[in-house]
Symmetry: C2
Subunit: 298 residues, 2 copies
């Protein structure tokens, strides 16, 4: 059994862990060294600073997932097509150092079934989604991973069958800071106002079109029907409600919310409000996914 | 018959016209003196500079529509409720100078039927919409007025019965400039790429959720399936497609597109592509609307 060094290298952060034989972290570290902060050619050094000590063991195997495998990352790791399970992903590792340091491919999904259509892609979330399956001993599930771009993965027979990306977090950020809403909202988000948030969720679902429902954030403020402090929560509810509106949630398909941050908690609040049963997992699924990929590929 | 001085005073521009007895402009002027450029207390002077010479006639009556009647404008002209026709609006003029200078009220529509719900509002477009009815001798119509916030008015029996606002233009601007799309698009929009635009319209309608369809603008660029030059047209198509997606267009209700700018032309291209019949009118409907309000109110 190799000693697995797990690396989750995203756009804005770098997380590393030394994993035990069960795929759980023995030791974890987090750095503000997302790929956007690493100069071209600087990846070996950033990697070394993060976990070079763990790599001294001759037996160590580093497996990296996330944006480090994108064009702007350490080395481009070409996308694997759907359906993709542990074996398909392990067979397509991009090796930085043979048998020592590997990058996990992202996954591409041709949602319109033709290369002329619009593809969808994930990088990093494929590993987390597969880790969720392993962790919960599931073969079929719907896995939701909130973030700047929220990913909804449908897993079937232990493979990623299809997925869809929703730009919910990014829409929130740009509307919050750069649209007319910025004029009447306080500069910083406070604590979540649960009532305002759920009012936004309901309004979005009722209205059925974000371009229209969004204007209510303006008029409620114009008519003093919402306080400036509650308005960011309302906008967040509008956006998450819009995302949830079109999900084809199947009654017998387990729904898993994977993530531990405040944003992910909001999805939980909205799902609970809508009466949709779900389970919650934290970030640890990524470690388990990387561990299983390391075992499939080595 | 009074000599009507028509004033369309919006957020970013000030347009004035001296109208003939038929409600058409005898003389028109346009200034970059939108209400955002006018300091508090500066409205009388800006008005005087724009059309003070026309107001010298003892018989002149100025009627002003648009954001000049908002809280940030010359004086707040409270909203009239729906349904609102010429008479209802003329009865609610806010007089700056008795019998000489009046501001037209905006219109409010309680879309959820209760003051606890989210209202919708227009200021300026009520006048244009009523002008469209007068111009085309219609009592019932659907009137679309594109802009930063596009307004869809439903007129019935010569009155504004209801309406809805879509933040399409503003979403385009903030996504274009501040989202991940900005990284791969050229700094300035070029000419409309009609094919890319309609591809965006179709994709949005097929997908049914802007938060998801928008990500295709990212992936098409990532996979070189769209050129950087065509990407802004595609994004514009996604947004206008999303707006058109949920309109309940009724077969026997005339659809009128009111506006003359490039944005309005795009709506025409999309409607034509979707096989929806419509008529097009320019800005002159606002003059006709102001003329009719002046006659109803004086």
């Amino acid at each position: 059994m190799r000693e697995v060094v797990a690396v989750d290298w995203g756009t804005s952060s770098l997380r590393v862990a030394r994993l035990g034989a069960d795929g759980r972290a023995i030791e974890e570290r987090e750095f503000a060294r997302g790929i956007l902060t690493v100069p071209p050619g600087g990846f070996p050094q950033a990697f070394d600073e993060a976990c070079g000590d763990w790599m001294k063991s001759p037996d160590a195997l580093a497996v990296i997932c996330g944006m480090a495998g994108s064009k702007q990352g350490w080395r481009e790791a070409p996308y694997a097509p759907c359906p993709a399970g542990f074996a398909e992903i392990a067979n397509r590792l991009t090796w930085i150092e043979p048998n020592r340091i590997a990058i996990v491919p992202g996954v591409v999904c041709e949602i319109d079934g033709s290369p002329d259509g619009a593809p969808d892609v994930i990088r990093g979330e494929e590993t987390k989604a597969l880790g969720v399956l392993r962790m919960l001993r599931l073969n079929d599930a719907r896995i939701v991973m909130p973030g700047t771009h929220c990913k909804w993965v449908r897993a079937s027979d232990g493979c990623i069958e299809s997925f869809a990306t929703f730009m919910t977090g990014e829409f929130y950020a740009v509307l919050r800071q750069h649209s007319i809403f910025a004029r009447t909202m306080p500069p910083e988000d406070g604590e979540l106002d649960r009532g305002a948030f759920l009012r936004g969720v309901d309004h979005s679902i009722r209205r059925g079109n974000l371009l229209q429902s969004a204007f209510s954030a303006r008029t409620l403020s114009l008519f003093d029907r919402i306080t400036p402090e509650a308005a960011p929560s309302y906008l967040s509810g509008l956006l998450i409600g819009e995302e949830l509106r079109t999900q084809d949630l199947m009654p017998n398909e387990p729904l898993v919310l994977a993530g531990a941050d405040k944003l992910t908690q909001r999805y939980g609040i909205a799902l609970e409000h809508l009466g949709v049963p779900f389970r919650s997992l934290g970030q640890e699924a990524t470690w388990l996914g990387l561990h299983a990929i390391a075992q499939s590929g080595s």
